[in-house]
């Protein structure tokens, strides 16, 4: 899964933004930008007219009307709470005094492992560990993406060429194999001490290898933004480049940055699971991936101990789905076409059904 993500990322980019433009002050970008703003404006007007005034003026920028967002937030919230508070109430995760390989019961809600560990307790600690790795890796990747993407896009010239070349090289080199190779070298190196197989190191490796896709999108956006009038005005007013980037450009990228951060977290959680499953994960701490690795070495699949390997995967899938749902809600705000086109089609279909003389066949019905 983690490996197929760049593909998806690139597809999504193409759908939303003007890409691959090398002439910032010439027509393609600005034309596209103007068209986009015009569409956005008309869309906003349409929605504002359609909804009652009571609903508020900012309704169109807040993704609140979306059931997807609510579902996503609830799922992610529940899992986060479980990761934070679960370890406090569950028994110690490596308490082997329980009976081994017990199916779920009142005493052990999710049964026990081959070594007598309580699966529920392992799951609570594992969720915490995986969330930690996901968030740290997400932050690292996002920082690198901003540095390589926004700086390249804003400054242009030689710096852009160098940063973009580097980004593209990192983008093309396959992710999981690199992570495996680096992990194999680093974790068996002496001299790193306790850091060598810690979850912090795993998170750093995942972050360092997972930023390139976001950087490409950010660069295209920064290039487009820097041709806008207000940025030019700030430049004429003598603002420092750093101020322009952080005050004028970055705030406009917030929805995109949020979506990318969420994507980064998903990528890292999935990457950690794969890495740990292969036995390259952190040894000191418990993550959802190490649980799956334990289940694999403990023959959980062969002995039918489903309660051992099903829950960790379910948590990962639910977390990923929840985060993706939030991302959808953000995406529909950033790219109004995705939201408006289905709505318009629906409205036309309803009008046709109500017999208002609208054709109910054809491309737009």
């Amino acid at each position: 899964m983690a490996d197929s993500q760049p593909t998806l990322d690139r597809t999504a980019d193409d759908s939303g933004y003007a890409m691959g433009d090398d002439a910032p002050f010439q027509s393609p970008v600005s034309a596209e930008a103007v068209r986009e703003t015009a569409r956005e404006a008309s869309a906003t007007a349409a929605i504002a007219a359609a909804t009652s005034t009571r609903a508020g003026r900012f309704r169109h920028i807040l993704p609140s009307r979306s059931g997807k967002l609510i579902t996503g937030v609830v799922i992610v919230g529940l899992i986060t709470l479980f990761g934070i508070f679960g370890p406090m109430i569950a028994q110690p995760p490596r308490d082997s005094s329980n009976e081994a390989l017990q199916p779920p019961s009142a005493e052990h809600w999710l049964g026990t492992t081959k070594l007598g560990y309580d699966v529920f307790s392992q799951l609570a600690w594992g969720t915490q560990g995986s969330l930690f790795i996901g968030i740290v890796a997400g932050i690292v990747a996002q920082l690198l993406a901003v540095i390589f993407g926004v700086f390249a896009g804003y400054f242009g010239g030689v710096l852009d060429e160098v940063l973009t070349l580097f980004t593209n090289i990192v983008l093309v080199i396959p992710g999981l194999p690199v992570v495996m190779v680096i992990a194999a070298y680093v974790q068996n190196a002496e001299g790193l001490g306790p850091l060598a197989r810690s979850s912090l190191l795993v998170a750093l490796v995942l972050g360092i290898t997972g930023w390139a896709g976001s950087a490409v999108v950010l660069r295209a956006q920064a290039r487009s933004l820097r041709t806008r009038e207000y940025v030019a005005a700030a430049r004429v007013a003598g603002e420092k480049p750093s101020r322009i980037i952080f005050v004028e450009i970055l705030p406009n990228l917030v929805p995109l940055l949020a979506a990318q951060f969420i994507f980064g977290v998903i990528f890292a959680v999935l990457g950690e699971a794969g890495l740990s499953y292969l036995g390259l994960g952190p040894t000191g701490s418990i993550t959802l991936g190490t649980m799956l690795n334990d289940a694999q070495t403990g023959q959980a699949v062969g002995t039918g101990a489903w309660w051992w390997f099903v829950p960790p995967g379910l948590i990962i899938a639910a977390l990923g789905a929840g985060l993706s749902l939030i991302n959808f809600a953000i995406d529909e705000v950033v790219n109004p076409k995705l939201r408006l086109a289905p709505e318009n089609a629906k409205r036309q279909r309803r009008a046709a059904k109500a017999g208002k003389g609208v054709a109910d066949t054809g491309a737009f019905a």
Partner: protein
């Protein structure tokens, strides 16, 4: 023409960077992989002293002592590589790395390649349909696909094995073919092909289920965006049949980014299923990589990584060329 020249230059630079990364990683990271590797090889050969040739191969791949300058090591490394000499494996001593890779490559390429093509076709066709029928109940498919996408694909494989192999006994649990029926290894016969196909069903299903969502979603979103383009409105206004608008006007253009993604996905065919191959003990490249990493067989690891990188680069390069042909705008803006 300058478009193609620039692409060629980019891939040459990337190729150089990838190979240099392969050279630098074992030398710059702490630890001494060459010493570990030589120790393992000595043990694998049963305590007999290694030939000068083997030692040289290992040191030029993984790093020599202080007596050789970095630059000389780099030159020696390239020399070995250009001769196709990737060293000797320690986990499968005395097989050479090149032989092991050559034996594993067909398995992965066939299985993951076929699965990727099926998944792509399915995703494009269904995605175009869902995008066309936007605003209907079919839109609910969108959140459903995200759930499938978020499932760790090796976990899905575990569940499939638990249900269909362990519980129901319909499919074999591990392997790429029946090792009891064909103890001598792969052979060219219908019986063997049948056995291989039978063993490939569950792994292929895993790949299709976990990757089809991405294609579907990408195609659906592009379709929705394309349908609000002016030329589609024009086509509709001209009175063209919906079918014609859908196939000739909307789908064709909406599929372009997916096609680019498909090229990249083909590159990841070799790399993309490492963990899945571990679940099924499938005798492909991924399994080889895992063996190498777990057994600290650095020479094998380097070789597999190199092959994986090369295929990804080649697929990307090929796709870039095609893409410039399909979508001429790229040539002029890029």
């Amino acid at each position: 023409m300058s478009f193609y020249l620039r692409r060629v230059a980019f891939y040459l630079v990337t190729l150089w960077a990838a190979i240099s990364l392969n050279f630098l990683l074992p030398r710059l990271l702490p630890g001494d992989p060459a010493a570990i590797m030589l120790g393992k090889l000595r043990r694998a050969s049963g305590g007999r002293p290694l030939s000068e040739e083997t030692i040289q191969a290992i040191t030029s791949i993984l790093g020599a002592g202080k007596d050789m300058s970095m630059w000389d090591q780099y030159l020696a490394y390239w020399g070995r590589l250009l001769q196709g000499d990737l060293g000797v494996s320690s986990t499968r001593y005395p097989a050479t790395v090149s032989d092991l890779i050559a034996a594993a490559l067909p398995w992965t390429i066939t299985l993951v390649g076929v699965a990727t093509v099926i998944s792509f076709m399915l995703g494009i066709v269904v995605g175009a349909w869902v995008g066309w029928r936007r605003g209907t109940k079919l839109d609910h498919l969108v959140p459903v696909t995200t759930v499938f996408q978020s499932i760790p694909y090796f976990w899905l494989a575990l569940v499939l094995v638990a249900v269909f192999s362990v519980q129901l006994g319909w499919f074999p649990i591990v392997g790429g073919y029946d090792v009891f029926e064909f103890p001598a290894g792969p052979e060219l016969s219908w019986a063997f092909v049948g056995s291989a196909v039978y063993h490939a069903i569950l792994p292929a299903t895993t790949i299709v289920i976990s990757s089809v969502g991405g294609w579907l979603l990408g195609m659906r979103n592009m379709m929705v965006s394309t349908m609000s383009e002016d030329y589609v409105v024009t086509a509709e206004a001209k009175g063209l049949t919906p079918r014609r608008v859908r196939t000739k006007y909307a789908s064709r253009n909406a599929a372009i980014p997916s096609l680019a993604g498909f090229g990249i996905a083909l590159g990841f065919v070799v790399a993309g299923s490492i963990v899945m191959e571990q679940v099924f003990s499938y005798p492909g490249i991924g399994k080889l990589m895992i063996q190498a990493v777990q057994g600290l067989d650095y020479a094998l690891m380097q070789g597999v990584f190199l092959v994986i990188t090369l295929t990804v680069l080649a697929a990307n390069f090929f796709m870039d060329l095609i893409y410039g042909f399909i979508d001429p705008r790229v040539r002029h803006n890029g």
